[in-house]
Amino acid sequence: NSKVIQTPRYLVKGQGQKAKMRCIPEKGHPVVFWYQQNKNNEFKFLINFQNQEVLQQIDMTEKRFSAECPSNSPCSLEIQSSEAGDSALYLCASSRQSSGNTLYFGEGSRLIVV
């Protein structure tokens, strides 16, 4: 059973609505990744953190996506104004190190934008 906790498992939003997903990494894992998995199983790396700092992120040029990992709070990924193309499974994973280590995934948050 995954020790990475993602909530909610499902969320349904209308176009233009805000969508927020949360992730509690496995205890002792300072590195957190967010991936978007589309209906064709394709993975898109979004962002990763080490503790509270961003390590790498895609060019979120539309600025609709934002993420943070505050201390003593769950990490979060937020879409400011959802679009139909954002419908996907959002996977959070944590790791002991930023590279070379196994990723431990949560069960994902499935976003459906109607």
């Binding site: 996977l91 196994t102 995934f105």
Partner: protein
């Protein structure tokens, strides 16, 4: 740029058969290679990983994979599959740049 190619989108076998799921990669530096399994609608679970040393890596549930630098491959194998092995399998490659790239997955269907 790292790329991961899983040439077979779907593989169907019968219970008890052996199976090989193919993975080829391209990367210009030192890398580590992994396989993950995803059951329908769930998160990914780690199967095994190679970084250095013995090119044959043993994983959970009888899975193993063999790294080949000359072929740029890291194929996953199992000698005798069970119906519960039906899932999507992802090959992943990571380097020193904090990024991990996933292939598009191979859907394995094990028929009784």
């Amino acid at each position: 740029t790292q790329t991961v190619s899983q040439s077979d989108a779907h593989v169907t076998v019968f219970e008890g058969d052996s199976v090989e799921l193919r993975c080829n990669y391209s990367y210009g530096g030192s890398i580590y290679l992994s396989w993950y399994i995803q059951h329908h609608g769930r998160g990914l679970q780690f199967l095994l990983k190679y970084y250095s040393g013995n090119p044959v890596v043993q994983g959970v549930n009888g899975f193993k994979a063999e790294f080949s630098k000359s072929d740029s491959s890291f194929h996953l194998r199992k000698a005798s599959v069970h119906w519960s092995d039906s899932a999507v399998y992802f090959c992943a490659v990571g380097g020193s740049n904090n990024r991990i790239f996933f292939g598009d997955g191979t859907q394995l269907v094990v028929k009784p």
